[in-house]
């Protein structure tokens, strides 16, 4: 299967990229890693007349760690983020999650920012973005703007981005000291899109939970945060009220049925993965506290 013909644009700066996008409008698509876009083109599910290939744009391939956030440029590959020790130390959830993105050969090319702009509910990084209160830095012909991840996603494969805008970076928010995180997903085949997945952040005081939040993969139309604090605050790490967590997750997620799994199964899976990840994350916290 081959892509339909398109005009390839190779801008060298963000301004040039935005200028081309402005010119071609809805007939243009941004090409960064292409690991989701190229299959869609190969299968002719989309046939844009113009590809704006940002791989030659300077300055977009850096990861910066500050006391507040981990900033990931639009050309940082999943593999680059996975290997970045500073990012993993500042926000362990990044490495925990990115290891679940497809296979190494896909992570070599695929970009973290691209997976956010693509807005696939089965993507891992959108869930991480909302859970960490990430902010996307967007450039367009009307200047730059910042968009919170919570509010960026409108629906499956749909975001608030205009056709002439480019995401140049994402700033994942660092979590308060003492926050423990976990990530899990279940797929029919290693590296496939998850039937369900979950990212979790738990804060503790000694061996008592003070707060807990979760975001899901593949079981909500847009990634959003389930605040489990009312369910878990005050609970001891060794005796978490897991039935109440199961109920909360089941009420929150809204999975679809498809040829891979039914909605009921996905709902069960999301709750089970949350419970297991919570237990393993709590066990880590207990170890750390001991």
């Amino acid at each position: 299967m081959k892509a339909a013909p398109f005009v390839h644009h190779a801008p060298r700066t963000v301004e040039e990229a935005v200028a081309v996008l402005t010119q071609v409008g809805h007939d243009g698509k941004v090409l960064a890693g292409g690991q989701s876009l190229v299959p869609v083109l190969n299968m002719r599910l989309a046939s844009p007349g113009h590809l704006v290939d940002i791989n030659g744009v300077a300055g977009l391939d850096t990861v910066e760690v500050t006391p507040e956030h981990v900033r990931v440029g639009a050309l940082v590959r999943h593999a680059g983020l996975e290997r970045h020790d500073g990012a993993a130390a500042a926000l362990p959830l990044l490495r925990q999650a990115v290891r679940h993105v497809a296979h190494p050969a896909i992570r070599t090319r695929g970009t973290t920012v691209g997976s956010l702009a693509h807005a696939d509910p089965a993507g891992e990084m959108p869930a991480v973005a909302v859970l960490t209160g990430a902010v996307l830095e967007v450039a367009g012909p009307r200047g730059t703007r910042e968009v919170a991840a919570d509010g960026f996603f409108l629906g499956p494969l749909e975001t608030v981005l205009e056709a002439d805008e480019l995401v140049v970076a994402v700033r994942f928010g660092r979590l308060p000291a003492g926050t423990r995180t976990g990530f899990a997903e279940s797929a029919r085949r290693s590296g496939d899109y998850a039937l369900a997945g979950v990212a979790i952040a738990v804060s503790t005081d000694g061996d008592t939970v003070t707060g807990a939040r979760a975001a899901f993969v593949s079981v909500t139309p847009v990634p959003d945060v389930l605040d489990l604090t009312s369910v878990l605050a005050g609970a001891r790490l060794g005796t978490l009220p897991l039935d109440a967590v199961t109920e909360a997750v089941r009420a929150h997620v809204d999975p679809e049925s498809d040829i891979h799994a039914g909605a009921d199964y996905r709902r069960m899976l999301a709750a089970e993965l949350t419970v297991r990840t919570l237990v393993s994350t709590a066990a880590g916290a207990q170890e750390g506290a001991a």
Partner: protein
Amino acid sequence: MSQFAAEPLLDITVRVNGIRRTAAAPARRLLSDFLRHDLGLTGTHVGCEHGVCGACTVLVDGEPARACLMFAVTAQAHDVTTVEGIGHDPADLDPVQQAFVECHALQCGFCTPGFVTTISAYLDEHPDPSADEAREAISGNLCRCTGYQNIVAAVLRAAELRREREGTA
């Protein structure tokens, strides 16, 4: 104007197996097709063409990547290594290729180039994998003959061979 007007061609230059190669191809030419049709390097196999099967895996700057999910024009200025660049001499096989022979890790052989490139890159980063890690390392490649047990064995044997060769070097 004919609706079949010729598609514009670009001069695309990619450094393949250490040699700069240039060919004229449309922007939509996949790297996999560029290697096979434009450069005549048919070692890279094409399976699913949407990134699932791994048969077309090549190394881009030393890291495994799907040649069917890259346009050749985006591979410009990068180093591409195909299975031909890993080893092309039957008398002097790469450790991964040697391990495939010893462990009977290829059956029809269609998936083999993608496995060889994937495993070579993996062992560069993880020289001493466990059996479980070997299984994980090849999980992005499909073998239509389902010869996975022997391929896992070959990953472990290749790691051994690499260590032996390093030891005697």
